[in-house]
């Protein structure tokens, strides 16, 4: 009896695999949906749409970007994780998604999905943030800044565009790496946070280069360091935190994810296309014109990077969760 069930299951799995194989041969035969868990109009959305425009030409089928927004990316992420794994529903993965999941775990809640519910197709940006202060601030270098922060623990205030986002976690990781404590004031969005540094309402902040660099040129802000491992082409004289001996690399990545059980031939085809998109001249222009840089990771590299990243966030999140006010 039991072997019978096993046999049936085996046949079933095999036939499914074969269906998968035949599907992959002429995949895609219909339009592909790309779920973006973040709202339309943001940088992330535009990068996803740039990817869709180039990739649909290579695949020969339209790619429709659908914004499924809610609960800091949880709603769209869950829809993507639970989609039929046939290669026709893909998800825009980003640092927002992994951050939200890690934060749920750190607070003892069970996240509705994790990165292990997806298989990585590839990612195409890895953007560091810049540590910015007001030009009147008494710091000449990151070393000055860190020693001042050590002298006044918990007194230097920074702004973020929102909790556990790309302007909050890099600073916490920097503090963790340098062994100092900062005071966090969350704002609603990157713009208000920039305004807070320019208007001296906080002491410093961390922001992406595209919006920050014009303010640096106009002498409204000063950059102390790149919170990453590689200097930027646009500001070659600004050192990275890694050069200065602090382990605080952290990047905003954007990539494409598929549900975990997507057949291997389809995954391979999508990975191949993603690699080609990342090398496409027009795509590179669409990403680099606004001031970002294309940095391609294939599916396996992305998975490896995410393991390192998650371990890092988990440590910081656990500390933050401990300090957070209890209900």
């Amino acid at each position: 009896m039991k072997t019978g069930i096993k046999l049936v299951a085996l046949v079933g799995v095999l036939s499914l695999l074969m269906v998968g194989a035949s599907l992959a041969a002429d995949y895609p035969t219909k339009p592909i949906t790309l779920i973006n868990p973040m709202p339309p109009g943001g940088t992330l959305d535009l990068q996803a749409r740039a990817f869709a425009t180039i990739a649909e030409k290579m695949l020969g089928q339209p790619i429709v970007v659908v914004n499924k927004v809610g609960a800091t990316g949880m709603v769209g992420g869950l829809a993507g994780a639970q989609a039929t794994p046939d290669g026709y529903t893909l998800t825009v993965g980003s640092v927002n998604l992994t951050n939200a999941v890690e934060w749920e775990i750190a607070n003892g809640r069970k996240p509705p999905f994790t990165r292990h519910d997806f298989i990585g197709i590839g990612s195409f940006t890895m953007s560091p943030t810049l540590l910015i202060v007001h030009p009147d601030a008494p710091y000449k270098s990151l070393a000055d800044f860190i020693s001042d922060a050590k002298a006044k623990p918990g007194q230097l205030a920074f702004c973020s565009g929102g909790l556990y986002g790309m302007s909050h976690l890099p600073v916490e990781i920097l503090g963790h790496g340098a062994g100092v404590k900062f005071r966090h004031v969350p704002y609603s969005g990157g713009g208000p946070c920039l305004a807070a540094v320019v208007g001296k309402h906080v002491d410093f902040g961390a922001q992406y280069p595209p919006t920050t660099l014009p303010l640096v040129r106009g002498n409204k802000l000063k950059v102390l360091a790149v919170i990453g491992g590689k200097r930027l082409k646009s500001i070659p004289n600004i050192p990275t935190v890694k050069e200065l001996g602090i382990d605080a690399e952290y990047y905003g990545w954007v990539g494409i994810l598929a549900p975990l059980k997507t057949p291997k031939p389809i995954v391979d085809k999508l990975r191949e296309v993603t690699r080609k998109v990342a090398e496409d001249k027009k795509f590179i222009d669409m990403i680099e014109e606004p001031g970002d840089e294309v940095y391609f990771l294939n599916g396996d590299e992305l998975a490896k990077y995410l393991d390192v990243e998650s371990a890092k966030i988990a440590k910081v999140d656990a500390e933050l969760a401990k300090e957070a006010p209890k209900k």
């Binding site: 709202p39 339309p40 109009g41 943001g42 940088t43 959305d45 535009l46 749409r49 425009t53 659908v66 914004n67 499924k68 927004v69 809610g70 609960a71 800091t72 949880m74 709603v75 869950l78 934060w103 607070n107 509705p112 007194q155 205030a157 929102g162 909790l163 556990y164 005071r183 966090h184 004031v185 969350p186 704002y187 609603s188 969005g189 990157g190 713009g191 208000p192 920039l194 305004a195 807070a196 320019v198 208007g199 309402h201 906080v202 595209p210 919006t211 660099l213 014009p214 303010l215 040129r217 106009g218 002498n219 409204k220 669409m286 014109e289 606004p290 001031g291 957070a324 006010p325 209900k327």
Partner: protein
């Protein structure tokens, strides 16, 4: 002379066939997203960004800005005709605008809304043109404590928003504040009143609440009155405001422009706040404030002007410094970034053709919008000739589709309908909905400003009187509060008593 010279160059950019065409498309699309309830300027701009991929930066920003200020024109239409806010900045227009329609003055209300929008919009562009760099730096001085102080003043003014008594306004405000706390606390990440329901993590959206409480609530009340309610007949000559209505509108329009322009500089969705503050101010300065809520033209003219002026000045931090402090300018900023233009403090001097081209296009756009909207008044008013038993399912459908189109979320439909019932019940109990809605808007913002200030100062309240701006504003709110109390307890003059007894 420098300004005139630059403006002349700007018009040379804006008056090319292509740019006038793009400006027209932007204004038209803006009017459409403004008229359609649910979908607002933010979604309207975001939807059209991919369409700008093939344009140059100047054309793209001319079109997208057109959507933003164009939506302020269209937003009043459904508010006035159907009591459904077409756009968040037009919620307050429902109060007197819809009453005017019921009195057969809907055409006049629409006319004044378009006229006020033009004045507010055009003077707003002039302010933007002359003062952008100066005001951008001034706007940076507004940190959390200043923001808190401003909102405190607005909040006290809010007490007089309702037409009912103090005891019917305050419970609605408190309830609005409660609804506003639902969702993730933006400062700690703690979930408040979500009961593990993921759809509530982002809080209760203010658009479905306003559309439900006003629009659906109104439908429910009307069906109860009669399915064959009288049609609000409007004759052509009644479309135009009377001389008396024109005269009454001048004050609100100019006050609305000033208020809107200043409030627009504040971070966040300032045009919404601007419309509410303008309404309450008009009610304060009016000779017989008790008539507000029964269809006073001032209650349409002020707010509809203020939201236009605010939408122009909200672009100042973005154009003058490259720091978008509201959601719509943030999306426009991204549109410029895609085209390789990075707005910053040097933007106006380094890219004069874009900045001055945009300014010139905004003058043109405001003229286009007035030409576009005035003939529409006649068409829209004709909608009211449709029998109510046919009109009301259509209104219901528009509300449902409009709400669904924003986030593709079925839970928001549920929120829309529940607040429809809520609006119906509280209208029957003769409570006002407007203070409830405004509390939902201001509550989270004032809480955030207050707590951000205290987070910055590590719990010291001294942060609220360290800067002269906050000190002045907090003093002002104290005076307003005392004045309110005095008015409530002072012995009434005999003529006032006679008036009350007469009612």
């Amino acid at each position: 002379m420098d300004v005139l010279n630059n403006l002349y160059n700007g018009f040379q950019v804006a008056l090319t066939f292509k740019n006038v065409y793009l400006c027209f498309i932007g204004c038209l699309w803006g009017t459409v997203v403004g008229v359609l309830p649910g979908i607002g300027p933010l979604a309207g701009i975001a939807l059209l960004i991919p369409a700008t991929f093939g344009m140059d930066a100047t054309g793209a920003i001319i079109m997208l800005a057109g959507i933003y200020y164009g939506a302020m024109y269209g937003g009043s239409t459904t508010s006035i005709l159907m009591n459904i806010p077409g756009e968040s900045a037009s919620v307050v227009t429902c109060i007197d605008g819809y009453q005017m329609t019921r009195k057969g003055r809907g055409g006049a209300a629409l006319f004044i809304a378009a006229w006020g929008s033009w004045v507010g919009g055009t003077l707003g562009v002039a302010g933007l043109m002359l003062l952008a760099p100066f005001l951008a730096n001034f706007a940076m001085k507004f940190g959390p404590p200043e923001m808190f102080a401003v909102l405190l003043v607005a909040f006290i003014l809010l007490g007089s928003l309702g037409k009912g008594s103090f005891f019917k306004t305050v419970p609605m405000i408190l309830m609005g504040l409660l609804v506003g706390t639902i969702g993730m606390d933006p400062l700690t990440g703690t979930m408040r009143f979500t009961h593990g329901i993921k759809e509530l993590y982002d809080g209760i959206g203010f658009i479905p609440v306003a559309m439900g409480a006003f629009g659906i609530g109104e439908i429910l009340v009307s069906t109860e009155e009669s399915l064959i309610r009288e049609i609000f007949k409007v004759r052509l000559r009644e479309l135009l405001p009377t001389r008396k209505e024109f005269r009454a509108s001048w004050g609100p329009i100019f006050r609305g422009t000033g208020l809107g322009f200043v409030i627009g500089l504040l971070p966040g969705s300032a045009h919404v706040l601007a419309s509410f503050v303008s309404y309450t101010v008009e009610k304060r300065v009016a000779k017989n404030p008790e008539e507000f809520g029964t269809g006073r033209i001032e209650g349409v003219a002020g707010p509809e002007t203020a939201n236009n002026a605010a939408s122009e000045s909200a672009m100042i931090p973005f154009l003058g410094l490259g720091i978008p402090t509201g959601p719509a300018p943030a999306v426009m900023m991204i549109a410029l970034l895609i085209h390789g233009v990075r707005p910053g403090p040097l933007f106006i001097t380094e890219q004069p053709q874009i900045f001055w081209g945009l300014i010139a296009s905004m003058y043109i756009g405001n003229v286009i919008l007035v030409i576009l909207n005035l003939p529409l008044v006649g068409i829209f008013v004709n909608l009211l000739r449709v029998p109510f038993r046919i009109l009301f399912p259509i209104i219901l459908l528009i509300c449902l589709v409009g709400t669904y189109s924003v986030n593709a979320s079925t839970s928001e439909l549920l929120i829309l309908l529940s607040f429809g019932v809520f609006g119906y019940v509280f209208r029957k109990l003769e409570y006002d909905i407007a203070p409830f809605i405004l509390a939902i808007i201001i509550g989270p913002t004032i809480e955030m400003a207050f707590r951000q200030s205290l987070m910055r100062s590590a719990g010291s309240f001294a942060i609220f009187w360290e800067s002269p701006i906050t000190l002045t504003l907090i003093g002002l709110s104290g005076v307003l509060l005392l004045w309110n109390i005095y008015r409530a307890v002072r012995p009434k003059a005999t003529w006032e008593k006679a008036l009350e007894e007469g009612e």
